[in-house]
């Protein structure tokens, strides 16, 4: 799990182009949207693509993402349970 969290942090930084950040800057328990990392609706769409591309998980709509993208940890847990690759 911890390894998946690290991997995920790196992928998030890359796909969202968070140039000035390192994985250490991301608190896996902090909210990704709003207060924590301050991501927005377009980032959510990018994360949906990331889930499909890297882990074979296809979300049906953006609403579903809201629950899953609560924090990096929640995301990792969801991936571990549902990944197809």
């Amino acid at each position: 799990m911890e390894q998946l969290i690290e991997e995920l942090k790196k992928e998030i930084i890359e796909v969202l182009n968070l140039e000035e950040m390192t994985p250490a800057d991301i608190d896996e328990n902090a909210p990704l949207f709003g207060e924590g990392l301050g991501l927005d609706s377009i980032d959510a769409l990018e994360l949906i693509v990331l889930m499909e591309k890297n882990y074979g998980i296809k979300l049906q709509n953006a609403e579903q993402g809201k629950e899953i993208f609560k924090s990096v940890r929640v995301m990792a847990e969801y991936i571990q349970e549902h990944r197809t690759k």
Binding site: V15, L16, N17, L18, E20, E46, V49
Partner: protein, 355 residues
């Protein structure tokens, strides 16, 4: 009502966001030229710019610099020209569509590929709810935006309008346009570009903007008498258009001190100007700018930018003179002529501010 160019700025392969090209120009040595990037952090925070492609960053920086120099926090209108929109993002998304066979595509490059992304990004940055438009008409994209801004001012709808021309040249697009004969082969020099009868120009990309306003502020660069775009397919019609334009500006060819043309070194392009200049302005100095800023769909914006700064500086560096000599030291009126493939034309008359 009079219209003034309050300020004008640029990013190009000259030094960015300044007028150092007047004294210390950078001379091109090849066909493919990339802009010199300024430090964007002073204009856009990293978190804000993380989704922006290079062109978008350039456009926002050029726009903000222009507004700052014009002493304007919020323009009443934002009007841009872009011949190709954000090509880098378009290519990114297009390649993804092809390579991934339409699956797992990233939304950001699509969202940032649209032509009006630029005008809207500037409006977002400024929170400007005013008139907002984007023109994408090849070599007269900037000219169309300029005309729209002039009309908004003439109709009394706005007091200020930010006009810009933004285009980027990627290696792939450069290659494609190269097949159509756009570019010079091999090494390039100013003398080579001036030589008659050779096809091809040098590329540049564009990020150039001007703030128009109806007040003669102390810092205004020059006055814009009028501008016009038109389609035309013969030199006779072009001459008629020229005369009726100058007539409307209550000016005559004899009062023009210099003609600024989109001469690029490409024979097909330059012949159109040469023919007209020879017939209408045989004794008036011709100026050019594309040898310092390159060819792109919005290159004509640099014509307006350069002419404004020349009128303001009250001098014309030799490097900008294509041919002819200045009899008198003062330059009062500059006529700017632009055409695209001898089909779409624009005329603009700029005059020195009379304080």
């Amino acid at each position: 009502m009079s219209i003034y160019i309050q300020s004008a700025s640029q990013i190009s392969f000259q030094q960015p966001l300044c007028e150092k090209w007047l004294d210390e120009p950078i001379l091109p040595i090849q066909s493919f030229n990339q802009p010199m990037e300024p430090d964007y952090k002073q204009f856009i925070a990293p978190a804000e710019s993380r989704r922006m492609g290079k062109l978008l960053k350039r456009a926002v920086a050029t726009a903000l610099d222009t507004l700052a120099k014009g002493g304007c926090e919020m323009p009443d209108a934002i009007i841009s020209g872009t011949g190709l929109g954000c090509v880098e993002n378009t290519e990114k998304f297009l390649n993804a569509v092809i390579d991934n066979e339409e699956e797992c595509l990233p939304p950001t490059p699509f969202m940032q590929s649209t032509h009006n992304t630029i005008s809207s990004q500037i409006s977002l940055k400024l929170q400007c709810h005013g008139y907002n438009s984007t023109y994408s008409h090849r070599g007269t994209s900037f000219d169309s935006a300029l005309l729209d801004a002039v009309m908004q001012l003439q109709l009394g709808r706005v007091n200020t309008a930010l006009v810009g021309g933004y285009d980027e040249m990627t290696p792939a697009y450069f290659k494609m346009l190269g097949k159509l004969g756009y570019w010079r082969d091999g090494d390039v020099s100013i003398d080579e570009l001036k030589k008659d009868g050779i096809p091809g120009a040098i590329s540049g990309g564009a990020s150039v903007s001007a703030l128009l306003g109806n007040k003669n502020t102390q810092n205004a660069l020059c006055q814009l008498v009028d501008t016009e775009i038109f389609s035309c397919n013969s030199v006779e019609k072009l001459q008629n258009k020229l005369h009726s334009f100058l007539n409307r500006c209550q000016s005559e060819t004899a009062e023009i001190d210099a003609v600024m043309c989109g001469l690029s070194g490409d024979k097909a392009n330059d012949d159109v100007y040469r023919d007209l200049l020879c017939k209408e302005f045989p004794t008036i100095p011709t100026l050019w700018y594309k040898h310092l800023f390159g060819e792109s769909f919005c290159a004509s914006g640099y014509g307006i930018y350069c002419a404004s700064h020349l009128l303001n500086a009250g001098k014309v560096p030799d490097l900008l003179i294509y041919n002819g000599k200045f009899e008198k030291f003062v330059v009062n009126n500059i006529l700017i002529i632009n055409h695209f493939q001898n089909n779409d034309f624009s005329l603009t008359l700029l005059t020195k501010c009379h304080n």
